[in-house]
């Protein structure tokens, strides 16, 4: 109760002061890690659509097909996780608590550049595990940029060492991201409509089809199978904040095509 953080509003400093830092030293003999993924995001007419398959694998084993890899960090931020879930989910939890802690304690929201750097900082803190190859995380981030009026969603991707890059059109990460990037590049250049011009139903349909294609080339990507009720995690970031595309909406809009 009395330990106050050395840096006002910084939740990681508060945790460190209470000896509760989330990322410790790696074990000498790490067990097999669950990983592999396809997550991506692209601008559509009303904002950003962020999508993720729901499969987690360990080696050639399918661990589960019910993972949510696109996470709401706060009312105006989304994170898509690719890599080792143990580290990625912990990072998402740290970010979510950190952003809300800052907003509540400092009585103002964290700026977009600070949010972007907070993720880079966590990735750098995770560097020892990344270098050992047992804790690699390569996330995607979408958040509202309030420096422009009206506020506009911005997209970022990271390398596992913490380098951050902003993308104008689309981003993708994970083992199935190669084919996704190719198709989105083609669509943005030659598509009619381009993804950035699509309505929400059109964008959802494109996202689901992209995951179907990615799963054909990458066994670690869970596809979309309406027959068995297997859909994706789809979240939207618009000027009003974060929303979720339900499985019922996914089924209806996929069938319309």
């Amino acid at each position: 109760m009395n330990a106050s953080p050395p840096m006002a509003g910084d939740f990681l400093s508060l945790l460190a002061a209470q000896k509760l830092a989330p990322f410790g030293a790696p074990a000498a003999n790490a067990p097999a890690q669950t990983q592999a993924t396809t997550v991506f995001a692209f601008h559509f007419a009303a904002g950003v659509l962020m999508a993720g398959d729901r499969r987690a694998t360990a080696g050639n084993q399918i661990v589960t097909d019910k993972v949510d890899k696109v996470l709401e960090i706060d009312a105006t931020s989304l994170l898509a996780i690719a890599g080792v879930p143990a580290m990625a989910f912990e990072m998402a939890r740290v970010l979510s608590t950190s952003f809300e802690y800052y907003r509540r304690s400092q009585l103002q929201p964290l700026s977009l550049p600070a949010k972007v750097r907070a993720i880079a900082r966590l990735l750098r803190d995770n560097l020892p595990l990344t270098m050992q190859g047992v804790g690699v995380v390569a996330p995607l981030f979408a958040a509202l940029d309030h420096s422009v009026q009206p506020a506009r969603p911005a997209l970022f991707f990271y390398d596992p060492l913490g380098a951050q890059f902003q993308s104008a059109g689309y981003v993708a990460s994970g083992s199935g991201s190669g084919s996704i990037r190719s198709i989105l590049s083609f669509q943005e250049r030659y598509g009619r409509p381009k993804p950035s011009q699509m309505s929400l139903p059109e964008a959802v349909r494109l996202a689901l089809r992209l995951l179907i294609v990615a799963s054909e080339f990458d066994s670690a990507t869970g596809g979309v199978n309406p027959a068995t009720g297997g859909f994706a995690t789809l979240r939207v970031l618009g000027p009003d904040g974060v929303g979720t595309v339900t499985e019922e909406q996914q089924a209806a809009w996929l069938a319309e095509g």
Binding site: M1, N2, A3, F11, R93, V94, T97, Y101, R104, S105
Partner: protein, 249 residues
């Protein structure tokens, strides 16, 4: 040596008197549990009276801004550490007050060679149903009282506070809309601030309505501060700070 305990008692009594004297000019804060959530009301120059603590918890207080800030920060630190190390669902007002803020205030108040906290606080936690709402009145000496829902007032003097609370319990019975509740709470705020009685001699409704509007006129030194803990919502964080215009006040 034998008279030391008596000196300590006298010092504590003097301290209590000193704190009450310092708080005398503080403007009250009020809260009411409604069917759709909990409304908190205060009056200040900005974000100075009513604050979000965590997903379902909020704080309103009067007193010295620096002391209010220290306690607000302590509560936010404790809530977020608890949420991170356990889960957000484990953050509860009962534990925040009973094991955090109350012992902190009591220890500080009884250390007679340190400066006391000059605050009176009101805390709220919205539940899944109105019956699960919790309102807590926390005093500068660490003493506290919790109640399930209803109305709660924090003022600098106990008698007017009790009178305002009793009056509000009557007039807010059956009120479901937050705009209507805010109107009643602000009338009580004005009556308390104007040092008028709630029993015989209570100003007429027209005077009360005009009174708080004149005291908190837009562009003036102080404005209406509102906090709303919604009972339901798409996100875990239920607190918003509606504007006066949003409530049509």
């Amino acid at each position: 040596m034998t008279e030391e305990p008596y000196r300590w008692l006298e010092a504590v009594a003097n301290r209590r008197e000193y704190v009450r004297d310092q708080l005398r000019g503080g403007t009250p804060v009020l809260a009411a549990s409604l069917p759709d959530g909990i409304l908190l009301v205060g009056a200040g120059p900005g974000q100075a009276k009513v604050f979000e603590l965590f997903d379902r918890q909020a704080l309103a207080g009067l007193g010295h801004p620096a002391d209010l800030e220290r306690l607000r920060q302590a509560a936010i630190d404790a809530a977020h550490t608890e949420a991170f190390t356990r889960a957000p669902e484990d953050v509860s007002l009962r534990r925040l007050v009973g094991y955090g803020l109350s012992p902190l205030l009591k220890a500080n108040f009884e250390q007679i060679f340190t400066a006391p906290f000059l605050v009176e606080l009101l805390l709220a936690e919205v539940g899944a149903e109105p019956a699960a709402d919790v309102l807590v009145r926390l005093h500068f000496d660490g003493g506290f009282r919790a109640q399930p829902g209803g109305v709660m007032v924090a003022a600098s003097l106990p008698e007017p506070e009790a009178a305002a609370q009793a009056w509000l319990q009557g007039v807010l019975a059956g009120v479901t809309e937050r705009a209507a509740a805010a109107e009643w709470l602000l009338q009580a705020w004005w009556v308390l601030g104007a040092n008028r009685p709630f029993g015989e001699g209570l100003p007429a409704e027209a005077e009360r309505r005009a009174g708080w509007r004149a005291a908190l006129a837009p562009g003036g030194e102080r404005g209406v501060e509102l906090g709303w803990l919604a009972r339901r919502g798409p996100r875990a964080a239920r607190y918003t700070a509606p504007t006066r215009a949003e409530l049509g006040l």
